[in-house]
Amino acid sequence: MPGETVEASAGSVATRDARTGGGTAWLLGSELLTLFRRRRTWAMLGALALIPILIAVAIIIAGPAPTGRGPAFLSEITNNGLFVGVTAILVAIPLFLPLTIGVVAGDTIAGEASHGTLRYLLIAPAGRIRLLLVKYAGAAAFCVAGTLTVVVVGTLVGWLLFPIGPVTLLSGATVSVGDALVRLLAIAAFVTVSLLGMSAIGLFLSTLTTVPVGAMAATAILAVVSQILDALPQLEWLHPWLFTHYWLGFADLLREPMVWDNFIDNAVLQAGYLVVFGALAIGRFLTKDVLS
């Protein structure tokens, strides 16, 4: 009976540990519940869902875009609704997705500090490293949710409003609807991975302040700055090191056969950011005086 372990005295703390166990999973569950019970989270996911909806509605009202104008794939949508999701994710990547990730990742620690709940989590005790891990996992879960929202809503809206059929890929080959849906999921995975480095930056910035808006804004601004630097040809040497470098690099997933080089390079780069900024966050948070 776990209830009886409550009575245990100092000497048997280790046994208590072993008997109750699995605590981190529950803390993560509680974190996800908290994140996805927040109205703000749903407002941001709603805003992301609006992107494919607006694109589809605009095309229906204004007619098909002329080839070569607007975001890639835009002109394809009237032929095949499956392109709504891809177009929407292309539109969302530079600004809208990073904004929402910035809000969630920047809020992780600073938000708790500003509410004063950080001290109560720490004296529970959540454990400082454990709390950081769980907070990061929560932000990563939001990356998945945000990306999937755009892709899934886009596909559903496309399905509803436009004809659906086999997709002609960039390489000229034509694949079935089922194959195309798998590729959409691969794109969602690519974009999610793309956002993991930025989430780690947000987590680190969030340990520096008790003002969540500051960490949120700084994280989102970094994403914009990084994209600007990536667009300057004079800084070509720097480009492969920018966390936004591969953000739009998922076109290879629309070839036959699929080319995974970018996916892998991107994953390695994001892992590097995760390690560096994760370590910075831990180093900072372990020694931080919690005065809020």
């Binding site: 776990p2 209830g3 372990t5 409550v6 009575e7 100092a10 703390v13 208590r16 540990d17 109750t20 605590g23 981190t24 529950w26 803390l27 569950g29 509680s30 519940l33 908290t34 019970r37 927040r38 109205r39 509410h115 004063g116 709940t117 001290r119 109560y120 989590l121 720490l122 004296i123 529970a124 005790p125 959540a126 454990g127 709390l131 020694t287 005086d289 919690v290 005065l291």
Partner: protein, 327 residues
């Protein structure tokens, strides 16, 4: 000494140039209700933050429940329930959901009993009716109760309550005192801070007094009272004259005189002068000498008492500042 629940040596915290806590040596016995008193800004909360591993000390060491802090936070904190610098919750969650969240953060809190323990803690502080309400709709007093409930989610060996009666109405304050008594009856050590002496005096077995970052006194309540000097209290319409006499006889500065409004007594005496009361430290002077001197000087003595300094006077003596904010 193994029988101390909290023990610090030279515990110090500096904020830039300011010494918030200045080398304090706390000794809180197991099973005691320790009143940690001091005016606002005297360093109580900062001390508590160091005891709980939220803040690193600049110097000195702290042992809580026999283990060094902050090195053993993971072992110590599950056995400690705490309210620090007021309650804090996620405003967009219900009271119940907030408690479940903090409970989930404690690796040692069994999941199977979580809902039952949350319900019981809410019931214990009288919040069952508001369990489902979002915390942003709670009053200050309700949040304070919820904060205390959070400290009670598990059976604790030590409860650290930082100003638990803040924001509570008199009824709530009485309830908190009753709760503290019930914890003590269960054998839990309670470390309770307050800037309002009267709110904890009745429940404490021990007290420690902070003043401007220093622990200026600590001991059992009785020891503490005995250290306080006896005083004389004279009730008279000739307050100014009485003060003069007392100053001369006791060679001590007389305390402030407080006009006492007792219109019925004044009417009965057919006298328009209101009664005032003058107090002074008695020191080693016998009280009868003081009375004789007063009468001789023509002071109309209507009441004379020797009072043992109560805790509050002692508190004022020690902190100098009364209940005002330091700095």
């Amino acid at each position: 000494m193994p029988d101390l629940a909290i023990e610090t040596h030279g515990l110090t915290k500096r904020f830039r140039s300011q010494l918030a806590v200045d080398g304090i040596d706390l000794a809180v016995p197991h099973g005691s209700v320790f009143g940690f008193l001091g005016p606002n800004g005297s360093g109580k909360t900062t001390t508590i933050r160091m005891l709980l591993g939220l803040v690193a000390a600049n110097a000195g060491d702290a042992r809580v429940l026999g283990a060094d802090m902050p090195r053993h936070v993971d072992v110590v904190l599950p056995r400690v329930g705490a309210l620090v610098e007021g309650p804090a919750f996620s405003p967009y969650l219900s009271g119940e959901a907030n408690l479940r969240r903090f409970d989930a953060a404690d690796r040692h809190a069994p999941r199977g009993t979580r809902n039952a323990r949350v319900a019981e803690a809410l019931d214990r502080v009288g919040l069952s009716h508001a369990a489902r309400k979002k915390v942003h709709a709670y009053s200050l007093g309700m949040k304070q109760r919820l904060g205390i409930a959070n400290a009670l989610l598990m059976r604790r060996e030590l409860l650290v309550l930082d100003e638990p009666t803040n924001g509570l109405d008199p009824q709530g304050t009485r309830e908190v005192r009753a709760l503290i008594r019930s914890f003590a009856d269960d054998g839990t050590t309670v470390f309770v801070s307050s800037h309002l002496l009267a709110e904890v005096e009745q429940v404490c077995t021990h007290v420690g007094v902070m003043s401007a970052g220093r622990l200026v006194a600590q001991g059992t309540l009785d020891e503490f009272r005995d250290e306080g000097e006896a005083r004389v209290l004279v009730r008279t319409p000739d307050a100014a004259l009485a003060r003069e006499v007392l100053a001369r006889v006791l060679e001590a500065r007389a305390g402030a005189d407080h006009p006492v409004s007792r219109p019925s007594a004044a009417d009965a005496a057919g006298d328009d002068d209101p009664d005032g009361s003058v107090t002074a430290r008695l020191g080693a002077t016998p009280p009868e000498v003081v009375v004789a001197a007063l009468v001789e000087a023509g002071v109309r003595v209507r009441g004379f008492e020797t009072v043992h300094a109560d805790l509050e006077q002692r508190f004022v003596e020690l902190t100098g500042e009364g209940f005002d904010v330091v700095q």
